[in-house]
């Protein structure tokens, strides 16, 4: 018997266990388990109306978290995305109110998102300024700029056709949820099977090795940020069109919710691993928890503390798991 077959024979039952214990599977179990547990306590939680509200109202977080996941996998971070979503929503809404064709209003959000994020990517990758400094600076530029330009005024009288979030494909499937699932699947396939998608993991996992393999680290980072900007644009459209008004201020701490979804979704904060499927499941889980708090009579003011604990626990678990794997 050679060691190879021994290892193979041993690995077989473990592989099932491993698939079962993957972050994505754990999250799926948590999403369903929580629904059942809260449903037993308060059956109204499981009402179709509530469940669809939870999904519809938070699809934009999942979409933005897909981009954030890519950024974190590439070994960077972005804390400006919440402010950017506020700015993009306002740009798009202003165009729509002022009579621009709806498609132009929609596209403007995507294009502006790509431009702002690509600019940040260029500063980070080519001028080698840490992502945290660039995005912290950009956060305040966007936030202050938005409030001083709009004066915090709300945009109302949006044309009906602007409301992307109201579209129901084939009369039943709500567009935000379809988009969330579609974006997740496409991004997951891209990251798993395409050369440029694998490059993101390579750059985040071992920048030096990636360079030796002929992957341009700066170009990959700019690409990741540009994509992240596009997803932020899409998220902004869902966010802007789900209500009849756009509050021209930045949704407070939105970036934290998005980062939480990515991190809890199994992205290793050390870069190099993680999937967008996990981040979407995590976004659903976080939205579910926020809604569940209300149904089990806990004040929704605790939601941010719950988020903090969630990040903390996943990050510590991730690092301890890696350490055990390295030690074994």
């Amino acid at each position: 018997m050679t060691t190879v077959t021994l290892a193979g024979a041993e690995a077989d039952p473990r592989r099932w266990l491993k698939a079962f214990a993957s972050q994505e599977a754990l999250l799926a179990i948590a999403v369903i388990g929580l629904a059942i547990a809260v449903g037993l306590y308060n059956p109204r939680f499981l009402a179709a109306r509530n469940l669809s509200d939870v999904l519809l109202g938070n699809a934009y977080i999942a979409v933005a978290a897909v981009g954030m996941t890519m950024v974190i996998i590439s070994g960077n971070i972005d804390i400006s995305v919440g402010a950017l979503i506020g700015v993009l929503a306002t740009i798009s809404g202003t165009l729509a109110v002022n009579g621009a064709p709806i498609v132009v209003a929609w596209l403007a959000a995507l294009v502006a998102g790509i431009l702002v994020m690509a600019l940040q990517g260029i500063i980070i990758a080519y001028l080698r300024i840490p992502a945290i400094v660039v995005t912290l600076g950009m956060l305040s530029i966007l936030k202050g700029g938005l409030i001083s330009v709009t004066g915090g005024k709300w945009i109302t009288d949006l044309p009906d056709s602007f409301h992307l979030a109201d579209i129901e494909l084939f009369g039943v499937l709500p567009f935000p949820v379809v988009l969330m699932i579609l974006v997740t699947i496409l991004a997951a396939l891209w990251m798993r099977y395409s050369a440029s998608g694998r490059a993101v993991y390579a750059v985040g996992g071992n920048a030096e090795a990636a360079r030796l393999c002929g992957i341009s680290q700066p170009r990959t980072i700019v690409m990741v940020f540009a994509l992240h900007g596009m997803f932020a644009g899409a998220a902004a459209l869902l966010y802007a069109t789900q209500l009849r008004v756009i509050q021209s201020t930045v949704p407070p701490n939105l970036e934290l919710t998005i980062i939480t979804a990515s991190v809890v979704g199994g992205v290793s904060i050390l870069g190099g691993t993680g999937t967008v499927v996990g981040s979407t499941l995590a976004a659903v889980l976080i939205a579910e928890i926020a809604s569940a708090l209300v149904f089990i009579d806990v004040s929704p003011y605790w939601i941010r503390a719950v988020q903090g604990v969630l990040i903390l626990v996943t990050v510590i678990a991730d690092i301890l798991r890696r350490r055990r794997m390295a030690g074994a």
């Binding site: 971070i77 001028l127 939480t260 503390a305 719950v306």
Partner: protein, 330 residues
Amino acid sequence: MSAMSEIPLPHPAKRVVPWWLLRHETMLAVILLIALVVLGGLNSRFLTLDNLLNQGRLTTEVGLIALPMTFIIITGGIDLSVGSIVGFCAILLGYSWKVFGFPLPLAICFTLLAGAAAGFLNGIVITRVKVPPLIMTIATLALYRGLAEGISQARSVRGYPEWFYFIGQENLFGVPAQLWLLLIAIVVAAIVLDRTTFGRSLYAIGNNETAARFSGLPVDRVKLIIYTLSGFMAGLSACVLVSRVTTTRSDMGMGYELDVIAAVVLGGTSIFGGVGTIWGTVVGLAMIQLLKNGLALTGVKGDATIVVIGTVLILSTLVASSLQRRREGV
């Protein structure tokens, strides 16, 4: 390739100006003076002793946190949770006094202790579990703000006894009371950083942590101390803030991390670690506050000033890193 490397490097240009004039802090101080004169020329209310002292009052809360932040950034770390610790501590101060019924002095001690504990939690996880400081403090940025919101349920606490407002609103020897606190803290921090083994070890850690470890420096203990100190100073800042504005709300200190980090980085502390001084941070603080005040007096609204601070943060990092790269000849 080999021929290229044999070409002798050109001699560095002879220094025509003394070294201390080229230091970041000196250049910054010169810019600060120019800014003072220009802003003073634009608005006659700007360059008055009253206004400048009042600006000192307003900068104290950020300044107290910027000192330990300088230590942390010199070691190559960062603490994004400081603003949330301010909010958390402010709420604890109000609640321990009003709801738990602590006497106010005890409530203040409790608040400072809670701040230190919040920083200690950051430090212990960063040093023991090896979670990168950026991620750890993003997590606690959410956690501490969440605790502040959860505990307070968006209710504010007001009506503190009269003596408590002394530190935040009164003068001592003609200078705002809290400014004395900041001045003492600055002197202590500068001496510690410059003249003690502890302070010098911060630079060693920031330059090369592995080397510092192999040199027998207690790297983990040093880090634990500075993150705990950061939390403690955020707690102190919360007390000063509550005393100045006479109320506690859970959104207090929100966005402080931007002002603090901008002041430290503007003051010449390298975000990559290993470089920085307390004097630089002090000049950086003055720059940020005067920028805010000057802009406000010339009619720019408060929201637009954070645009300027964000831009200053990015640009000053850009300039510092390109200068550093040129010096290293990369």
